[in-house]
Amino acid sequence: MTTATSTSDVPVRTRATPQERRATGVGIVLIVLGVFVFWAFGLGSEPGADATFNLSLPGATFENITWVVSARWLAFAVAVILAFLGGMILRRSNVRWTNLALAIGLILFALAFLTWAAGGKSFSLVGMLRSTVLLSVPVTLGAMTGLMCERVAVINIAIEGQLLTAAFVGTIVGSAWGIWAGLVGAMLTGALLGAVLAVLAIKFRIDQIIAGVVINIFALGLTSFLARRVLSEAPDLNSPGRFTAFKIPILGDIPVLGPMFFEHNLFVYATFILVIVLHFGLFYTRWGLRSRSVGEHPKAADTVGINVYRTRYRNVILGGFIAGFGGAFFTLAQVSRFEENLTAGIGFIGLAAMIFGRWMPLGVFGAGLVFGFALALQQKLGILGTPIPSEFLSMTPYIVTIIVVAGVVGRARPPAADGKPYIKD
């Protein structure tokens, strides 16, 4: 089985620390990206093709702000910057700046890509960024659900099922009693499924992943069944109306940032608030400290008098409310009607965003925006008609997740007790 260790008499070499190896990896990646940008987006674009980015939406206070840029020269500039960043990282192996350099590099890469794609055409950059924020909302809310659960060591892969069922109940209750009732109904549904997960995981101590899979299958089966059997019979139960976008005074008039962040529907603003509240709550309040302690070391938490079970139940159910809210986004804001498997894997992307954001609300929101960008890109590139098949863009979030989980972008460390049932002595 194991090969004999013949290296035992070789003098010990000082090996690079994981951080240094990572820095080297990131440096190489940046340089490769730079070369790629030079070749594909620089040489690969028409020499005279200018990309026209619209920086305002039609009808905005400051209308018709545009930015015209030569696709080829921008690509060359980006390539140089990428190579420079990569070189700096490689030469210094400066661990501290690795993530920053990588983030800047990826944003520049995205910009070069967009310019290349929009070369010779006009493209609404603000529209794109606006849908990025909008599409990041269900992902972020799903991820927050997962975060609430995993911070108290309950793995929740039932997010998808919670979103789907909540979306379904949202449309029915919303059609019958109005959208606000629909919102409440959806949130209660999410919480109910959260409670089911909590009971299965905490009381019955079923494997939490199995419990999650079960809830997902159940949700898909039940909602599809009811959609075909009830909603098709009573279509009036499937037209709830929707929460429309409204502009925040003053803030909404800021160029670029205004339409991007402050001209949305209720769900988007609520997500902003939730992210900040959760981040503050988790790291600066007694509730947060207790929750985290239950997730990291339940036994110690129990010893100092924290009720582990109650904390877990409470957080998983609270997480369910968030999932319910996220589910309502689909039927009460986005499309305003339910279709089979409407959520189409957004819950799983949320799970990925949670890991990518390293179990921290602000980080998770950032990850949500990255995935939102990928989703928005998918929608908008169809309009531009690039040669890249949309399937590859659709894959991007999942590939990014694998790279993140595999630790290429730094080790993502989950709460220590994640997934382990706690048995009180």
């Binding site: 101590r205 494997d207 992943i209 089966g221 069944f225 059997r229 990925a352 630790g407």
Partner: protein, 401 residues
């Protein structure tokens, strides 16, 4: 986790106490081991009946005015539905053929999950592995024109190789970086889904003159031969062979012993000198290979012998239910596969004859798994005495690996 093996084995008393005893919590006797699943299925059917009753929109309107009539209609609705379920699954030779036909991919995929479970790995990526393996089989199917006796084995081998390699990615990532296989396999599912959509629209696969994702048909020599004009085909025989193979692998071979040892206690296996990292890759490869055959069966085992978008359907997720129901034992998976095949075949009849959407079958499956995974639920409902040794089901220990 309990370190000491339970004193007495159930069906798989060869060697280590496998997943069987640890999951079941049912403990010692075969009687109990059968009792809980049987009651789980029964309970699921009863709950299913309630769901049928309360979703019957037309009858619900009558309850206020004529409860007697409404009750009668509800009862006959449930009766019709379950009668169709029964007739459609075992009521005639054709129905039995349909059941076995529907069971084929389920058994193969269920075995894939079961092999993973026994080694302590949770392969949620069966769907993706089926897609990739199936596409490889399809490619061999329409590219070559060979005698059937060579062509079909080639198709199966291609499916095995590609399904296995796709799954091995997750095994490799776990071995090398500790990335949790649940996350990576879920992600690989989505990647496979989009990848085959792309392939189906590329010139390699796409039917000339079409714009939607649909492939050329496989050559007739690669079609799985059917039994007369029934849909039952050679795929079922391959599935039975796979059941035997998995049994042999897990309980009669050294490598299978190592798989189970790693599943039982990875650190123990490591100190016993086993190469745990390599075993993770091998387990995933075997698992994916089985899934790959299931995928090939989804294309070459039914008309029109073409690849379409997500041709694996929900089989990959049903497989998890199957492996749990079958206690991860190959024979258990076979029996569970036949049961779910019957639900599938009957469900189609139920949809056609009684107008009950087939999605009800998914609900039944979910209920069955819950009750299998939490036998306390069943015992609580039927007031069965709890055996001495009670352990929860834990096969995953967080994302850290």
């Amino acid at each position: 986790m309990n370190d000491a093996p339970p004193p007495d084995g159930g069906w798989d008393d060869q060697g280590y106490p496998g997943w069987f005893q640890r999951v079941s919590g049912v403990g010692s006797s075969v009687g109990q081991a059968v009792l809980v699943p049987a009651l789980a299925v029964l309970t699921a059917l009863i709950i299913g009946a309630f769901i049928i009753a309360i979703t019957d929109v037309d009858t619900l309107r009558i309850w206020g005015s004529d409860p007697g009539e409404a009750f009668g209609l509800t009862m006959s609705g449930i009766f019709d539905a379950y009668k169709a379920l029964f007739v459609g699954s075992v009521g005639s030779p054709r129905a039995i053929s349909e059941t076995l036909y529907a069971a084929t991919p389920l058994i193969l995929a269920g075995l894939a999950v079961a092999v993973g479970f026994q080694a302590g790995l949770f392969n949620i990526g069966v769907n993706g592995q089926m897609l990739i393996g199936g596409m490889a089989g399809l490619w061999v199917g329409f590219t070559f024109s060979l005698p059937m006796i060579i062509h079909i084995p080639l198709v199966v081998i291609a499916a095995i190789v590609f399904g296995g390699m796709w799954a091995a990615i997750a095994g490799f990532l776990k071995a090398r970086t500790g990335a949790h296989e649940v996350i990576t396999t879920i992600m690989l599912n989505f990647i496979a889904l989009y990848l085959i959509d792309y392939l189906l629209k590329s010139s390699w696969f796409q039917e000339p003159g079409r714009n939607d994702p649909i492939s050329k048909p496989a050559n007739p020599s690669a079609h799985f031969p059917t039994l007369g004009d029934y849909r039952l085909n050679i795929g079922f025989v391959i599935a039975l062979g796979a059941v035997w193979f998995v049994w042999w692998l897990m309980y009669r071979s050294t490598i299978g012993f190592e798989f189970r040892a790693v599943g039982f206690n990875p650190s123990g296996a490591k100190y016993a000198g086993m190469n745990v990292a390599w075993i993770y890759v091998a387990v995933m490869a075997v698992s994916g290979a089985l899934a790959g055959i299931g995928g090939a069966n989804q294309i070459l085992g039914l008309e029109p012998y073409r690849g379409i978008s997500n041709f694996a359907g929900t089989v990959g997720f049903d497989a998890i239910a199957l492996a749990l129901l079958g206690r991860s034992h190959p024979v258990g998976v076979l029996i569970a596969g036949l049961l779910f095949g019957a639900l599938r075949a009957g469900g189609r009849e139920m949809q056609g004859a009684a107008g009950i959407p087939i999605d009800l079958v998914l609900v039944l499956q979910a209920l069955i798994i819950v009750m299998i995974a939490a036998p306390e639920l069943v015992r609580a409902i039927y007031r069965i005495k709890t055996p001495e040794e009670e352990t929860g089901t834990t096969i995953s220990t967080g994302w850290g690996g």
